[in-house]
Amino acid sequence: MKFNISIILIMALIIASSCSNQLDLYPRSAVSSDAELTEEDASSFLIGVYQSVQNDPGRESYILADLLGGDMNSASSTNGGGTNAFISNIMRPEHSYVNSSWKGYYEALYQVNTLLTSLLTLPNNSEMNKNRGVSHYFRAFIYTSLVTKFGGVPILKENSLERMPRNTVEEVYAFIEEDLQIAIDLAPEFSGDLGGDFNSVSSDAAKALLARVKLLQGKKMEAATLAEELIAAPYFQLDSFEKIFRREGNSEIIFAFVNLTMESNINLSTLFYTYAHPQSGSYVFKPNPWAMQMFSPEDVRGPISVDTYEGLDVVNKYPSGQTGTDQLNVSRLAELYLISAEGQGLAGLPRLNELRAARGLEPVSAGNEDQFLDLLLEERRRELFGEGFRWMDLVRTDKAIDQIGIQDRETLMPIPETELLLNKNLVQNPGY
């Protein structure tokens, strides 16, 4: 009798433990992405786009133009020696900075295009239009970052698994301008819609980026016109470096990634400070001696831009230390002053001197266009040090080979080697 009961019990146990329905398991931090985005999803997805564009390219991509521009060096170098060796080392198709920048921008692009494609089927209300505007801005931002580093790159208007060939530089710029025009039309207004929140993308930010893009293409007057529009905007004013680079409220920033520690892995600070410095970093890069000397004592930018601690020179613009993160500026009014000045040529000298005055410097004067351009580029060098401009500025004005002493090929970064292997339709930049 006991025996029979136990058999029944055991059979019951076996049946109870037959659990094929338990093979359908789903993660708790994600949902299936097969479903179409709703309007509500689209707004959450836009937040994700901000995060992706901020993080995916990796921290070095924000300062590559500084690393390649001759003003920075490996922290282990002595007295600025071997700067060119340092640059050539980065400019290798197998170098991780090259690789992670390329990959990162395209990863971010995937999220942007996912949203843009979904938005095609969503209604044309003002909320969705703002999402469209911001998405187009980010696509333009991504392509601006790519084209200035790699030259002509594959244009993806929507996501594709195809192995795309490279487009020309002109095609990429045309695509960027198209996107930015949509962004200017649809993105929220800086003061009205956003209430002056410079951590969100506005149509003013799109305009600022378009001004940069025009200048990059040598469309100087168009660049100056756009820049002037922003300079004229009452809600933007040149402000103090202290506020701009120490996460304080200011009237100068047009758009900056907020880059909160919890949400970001873009920790620039640790690359610049020594372990012995109070900000404690791993001291990967340092300013070259000539970069230390470019700030005169009365230049208010000097102490905020660079510092010397226990005999070691450090970049001081990203001060949160080893474990924190700093705001990442994309566009601020000073750049627009410089764009306007450069776009106008000699006629832009007053704009240049306005900026100089704001930074505590005496006005300068120039005898001819070349002199003026040199003065202007020096000012850009001081103003935008450590913000990802220097190498691009020298390349677009054809001064890179002379001034930095780089090789011909090093006016463009190489296409990453792994990408060439995975996509036979890509062609390497000349000289690599």
Partner: protein, 1116 residues
């Protein structure tokens, strides 16, 4: 007729031998009984007997009075009769007789009207009693040995002192004595009443019992490729985990060394590289529970930690490795990389013993002389030479921006620092284990407790482990057995940064400038990454961090085994492997990573692996055909829950909990689960012990695949033939068996739990708002990786078991390889989990065991060797994949191939340098890389496959010598033909490229002019050209290592019996005593990565230490 009296006459024939008479007499009675048997009939008269203490003959008389029955007996026999007490009324004769004879030493037979009195069947002859002792060759008493009468059912087991008694044996009795691990022995008793039986250790491995999946099998019956290892006192290595025990012991089983930090990961690969993803770890099954491969640590401090180190090797009874598909297929989808079955100890019937094992030793880092760094004078000479070469080649003058200044010794006359010496130590290791084992027919019990304290050779590195174990089985009723087997462990690992980690101690102890020092004159640290110190200060790193990895583990099961009939039984098991991990890492404000304010990382994980399993067994013999079959169902679910907090800002180093932190920099929690449902079945058929056939199948359904691709079936077949059992086999002292098998196994390791699903994840937050993003593509087509394996093997025993040889040849084809395949970045992702290709492994494995006695000297030698080839046979698109810095996956090549520039030598003159390279600054004295495509420039297209991290062959060789009470064993492991990439040399061989220190040997051998060197380039500042990934740093990793050498002395029994002990052995054991290798580094077995694709890359993970220890093993 009253009773017939037969007895007297026979005894009077005194001239005949007594035995002869006896035989005659009984022959008569029995033939009488036989003749009458056919006419036996029922006697229905009623009997009434009231007899109290009277003689049997009086009972006979009473019965004869009441019936027509007569009794037939001999006087001699009736004298043994016992007085009778009986009280019966109105019973039949048939009922009465059994009661009458119940207490008598003889029986009866009813033949028509006669009752014939005769001896009981087992006592047909004169009975004798015997007592004896069973011992092993070296005098060890063997409790629990089985002693049984040959051809009879009588038997017993020996007691704790190895003693037994048996009575009432026939005088020509032959006893069969058997004991696991020893040869059975037959003893003819003759006239002896006391015997000492000495058993020889089993040299016939065919008779041993082998654990197979879901059961056991006699070695002779095994038709698949299974290797086994049973730890003994002599071969036991004092290691942390069971996986290390089998290193070098089995053909086809490669066990890497693991690093020198206690508890660190090791690589175990069975029959080569099984998969591309994951670590190719075999499936470990401990006491029936399949374990989940994972990293025992949560923070990456440069190396993984081995979860098997949490188990206690002293508790291990045996380790079996299922190598071919036929043996492993019963574990289906997880068996592609082989299955390691670990069986822990259990109590033995009749044996009650208490055992203490204890040892203590010291560890240190060997061969450090290979890492001698250049002293200050040499360092400065070479450094300044490098700077001079740079300035001169580029025409830089002092004052130029690019001019590099020369270096002087900042502390002339001060002593230099040996950076490695100041952080290494002679480390203490100690280990105590106690176990208690006992058993009765119904209940068997094994209890143990262990403690291990192992200091690392680096300061502050320490591993402590506490283990307990309970194993009980109980026969509750005739049909039900219940039991539990529970292993509990707690381990605490004070880790050090290692491997590639930024503050890795070993690497940070190299490459400092020789004149730099750890402390400033005021006692503060010099901080690395500054002008004063190049790399992290290793003293500071160790002093200012506190790491603690705690693992609590419960691995165990309860089971019930229900026997329905002699042939059928059902085993239900509930198993659980629950691991709670706390990983704690605290950096004080003085630590380089302490962010100047103190930082605490606290990460915790709860991982449960639950198993419900029901298996129905059928074992039956039909004549010569034996069937062992089973069918079962199992469900396994793995759940992982993690949380992690990163806090910063502590008022002082003495506050180290997160409630004190001024800022929580990040906090997160996660949850994941996956499950597997399986049906499995197997039939082992054996005919006359000569022909074996085994069929098995397992169907697995995994939550990792989409419902359409979820289930996979993995069948196998194997056959064996004991040819030496055939009548035509004429070599009597030779055993020979042929085996062949074919089957399929699967793999789903190394891919994410939700890999098939395209996912939109939360957590893509920006500016405090919650965001969504696409986190994976998903691949609904994803399916099982399947390996089909053919194996053919032979087992040969020669010279009556003195020599054993096992050889296997296998071909294993793996298809649908799972891989995170890199894809072009414009797709938006860098990789997608796919089934990308196929691979083949071929191999030959050979094991030879030989034993011989030279008088009192006994020699046992075990040698194994494995030759395994790997080849990728297809890849999606058949295009090579570049992986890591210097590897590739290419069709037709091995996984683990090195892909890099080939160094041809050193340019001896500028004229040799191609123009394009010359323009890039390459000059005489720089490395001459092979320009494969002859385009005059060295770029990625010039890389080629050079070497592999897979050895041509590897194995182990152990030799044990026993002489009287001494035993000496030496164990060698070896590997030949693999290459190792010495990544660490990129740090130590820089020769002035930066300011790093460099090895003395390299500095002295550098190129300084034509003809000075063709191996080491010139010193040159700034350029990494000479440091390109190339064959310059690729070295031969072949080695022979004296793995262990141990000497033991067992105290004589006579002496021990006075101490009430049954066994006491003292030993001294050395580990890693000598290494024969051409490798320039310390240890060619250490790798920074145990992934099959990246093995053989030495970036100064801590090398294996050398250990000397003394210990004892006592049994009461």
């Amino acid at each position: 007729m009253k009773f017939t009296y037969l007895g007297q006459g026979g005894l009077r024939l005194s001239f005949a031998p007594p035995n002869y008479l006896l035989v005659m007499k009984w022959t008569l009675i029995l033939s009488l009984a036989f003749c009458f048997q056919v006419t036996a009939k029922v006697h229905s008269q009623d009997l009434t007997l009231k007899i109290n203490g009277q003689q049997l003959t009086e009972v006979f008389a009473a019965i004869e009075d009441q019936t027509d029955i007569s009794f037939v007996y001999s006087d001699e026999m009736i004298r043994q009769a016992k007085p009778v007490h009986i009280n019966l009324s109105k019973v039949s004769l048939e009922e009465a007789l059994p009661m009458v004879f119940a207490q008598q030493p003889f029986t009866y037979q009813l033949v028509d009207q006669y009752v014939v009195i005769k001896a009981k069947p087992s006592a047909e002859r004169e009975e004798i009693a015997i007592s004896g002792t069973v011992k092993s060759q070296n005098g060890e008493l063997l409790p629990g040995a089985t002693v049984r009468l040959k051809g009879g059912s009588k038997g017993t087991v020996t007691d704790i002192d190895g003693k037994f008694t048996l009575s009432m044996l026939p005088d020509d009795a032959v006893l069969v004595v058997s004991y696991i691990g020893y040869d059975s022995q037959e003893i003819a008793l003759g006239s002896k009443s006391e015997v000492v039986i000495i058993l020889n250790p089993s040299d016939n491995s065919l008779s041993e019992i082998v654990v197979i999946g879901y059961g056991q099998q006699e070695r002779k019956q095994v038709s698949s490729a299974i290797a086994d290892f049973k730890p003994t006192e002599e071969n036991f290595r004092q290691v942390q985990g069971p996986d290390q025990l089998i290193q070098g012991r089995m053909a086809g089983v490669y066990v890497g060394a693991g690093g020198g930090t206690p508890g660190s990961d090791i690589r175990v690969s069975i029959r080569g590289i099984g998969s591309l993803s994951g670590q190719n770890e075999p499936l470990y099954v401990v006491d029936g529970i399949p374990l989940v491969n994972h990293n025992a640590a949560l923070f990456d401090l440069g190396e993984g930690m081995n979860p098997l180190a949490e188990l206690n090797p002293n508790d291990i009874e045996s380790i079996e490795v299922l190598k071919d598909a036929a043996s492993a297929a019963i574990y289906g989808s997880r068996a592609t990389n082989g299955v390691v079955i670990i069986t822990t100890k259990s109590g033995k019937e009749g044996k009650s013993s208490f055992n203490i094992q204890s040892n203590i030793g010291v560890q240190y880092l060997p061969n450090v002389n290979k890492l001698k760094m250049a002293d200050s004078d040499l360092y400065l000479e070479v450094l300044n030479e490098a700077r001079f070469n740079y300035n001169e080649q580029n025409g830089y003058q002092p004052g130029d921006g690019n001019f590099v200044n020369y270096q002087e010794n900042p502390y002339p006359g001060y002593p230099e620092t040996d950076w490695l010496d100041i952080v290494t130590r002679n480390a203490l290791v100690s280990n105590v284990n106690m176990s208690f084992s006992s058993g009765t027919k119904k209940t068997k019990l094994y209890l143990s407790g262990g403690y291990l304290n192992q200091q690392g050779v680096m300061e502050s590195n320490e591993y402590k482990k506490y283990n307990t174990k309970v194993n009980i089985t109980h026969q509750a009723t005739s049909w039900l057995e219940v039991g539990t087997n529970t292993n509990l462990s707690f381990s605490r690992n004070n880790r050090i940064p290692n491997g590639n980690y930024g503050s890795a101690i070993m690497l940070r102890s190299m490459g400092q400038r020789p004149f730099d020092r750890p402390f400033k004159p005021n006692g503060e640290y010099y901080v690395g990454g500054t002008e004063e110190l190049l790399y992290h200060n290793n003293v500071q790193i160790l002093n200012e961090q506190n790491t603690k990895l705690d693992n609590y583990r419960m691995l165990g099961n309860v089971h019930a085994d229900i026997r329905f009939s002699p042939s059928f039984h059902l085993k239900n098991t509930f198993g659980m492997d629950a691991i709670y991990t706390e990983d704690y890492l605290y950096y004080t404000d003085k630590h380089p990573y302490g962010a100047g304010q103190g930082r605490l990382l606290d990460e915790r994980r709860m991982m449960t692996n639950g198993l419900i399993e029901n298996t129905l067994y059928f074992d039956h013999t039909f004549g010569k055909l034996t069937i062992n079959a089973l069918a079962g169902h199992s469900f396994q679910k793995v759940t992982t829950s993690v949380n992690s907090i990163d806090g910063r800002g502590f008022p002082s180093p003495s506050f180290d909990v997160l409630s004190v932190a001024s800022e929580i920099a990040s906090a997160s929690s996660g949850f994941g689960q996956n499950s597997l449902e399986s049906y499995y079945s197997r039939a082992n058929l054996s005919y006359a012990d000569k022909y074996m056939l085994s069929l098995s199948i397992r169907a697995d359904g995994s939550s990792k695949f989409s419902p359409e691709k979820r289930y996979g079936s993995f069948p196998s077949i194997s056959a064996g033939w004991n040819i030496s059992d055939e009548p035509f086999w004429s070599l009597s002292r030779t055993d020979l068996k042929f085996r062949a098998s074919y089957g399929a196994t699967g793999n789903q390791d190394g891919i994410g739990s939700y890999a098939y699903q395209a996912l939109m994840s939360g957590g893509a937050n920006y500016d405090g708002n919650s965001g969504l993003s696409i986190s994976t593509f998903g691949n609904p087509e994803l399916t099982w990786e399947t390996a089909k394996q053919f194996d053919i093997g032979v087992d040969l025993g020669m010279f009556a078991g003195k020599l054993h040889l096992t050889a296997d040849y296998f071909i294993k084809n793996t298809e649908n390889l799972l891989y995170n395949m890199p894809i072009h970045a414009t797709s938006g992702f860098s990789s997608v989990t796919s089934n990308i290709g196929s691979m083949q492994n071929r191999g030959l494995e050979l094991m030879i065991a030989y034993q011989h006695r030279f008088g009192e000297l006994e020699w046992q030698s075990d040698f194994n060797i494995s030759f395994i080839d790997n080849e990728l046979t297809s890849l999606l698109g058949d295009e090579p994949l570049l992986i890591g810095a210097n590897r590739t996956l290419q069709v037709g090549e091995e996984v683990g191939s090195f892909y890099m520039y080939k160094m041809l030598g050193i340019f001896q003159s500028d004229e040799e340098v191609p123009q394009l390279l010359f323009d890039q600054g390459v000059r005489a004295g720089d490395v001459h890389y092979e320009d494969v495509n002859n385009d005059g420039i060295i770029n990625v297209d010039d890389r080629q496959i050079i070497g592999t991290s897979n050895p041509d062959y590897y194995g182990g060789w152990s030799n044990t010598f026993k002489y009287k009470n001494f035993d000496l064993s030496a164990f060698l492991t070896y590997s030949q033909g693999s290459e190792i990439y010495a990544t660490w040399r990129i740090t130590t061989d820089r020769l002035g490229i930066g300011a790093q220190g460099f090895r003395e040997e390299v500095a002295l051998d550098r190129w300084t002019g034509p003809g000075t060197s063709n191996e080491v380039p010139r010193a040159y500042h700034g350029s990494g050209y000479n440091l390109n990934n190339s064959s310059r740093f690729l070295e031969d990793a072949s080695f022979v290592r004296l793995r262990t050498l141990s000497l033991g002395y067992t105290l004589p029994k006579a002496f021990l019996s006075k101490l009430q002990m049954s066994h006491l052995r003292f030993f001294v054991q050395g580990e890693n005593l000598y290494l024969f290798s051409k490798y320039s580094g310390v240890d060619p077995e250490v790798s920074k990565n145990y992934d099959a694709r990246f093995m053989g890359d030495d970036n100064m993970n801590l090398p294996q230490p050398r250990t000397i220890r003394v210990g004892l093993n006592a049994t009461f």
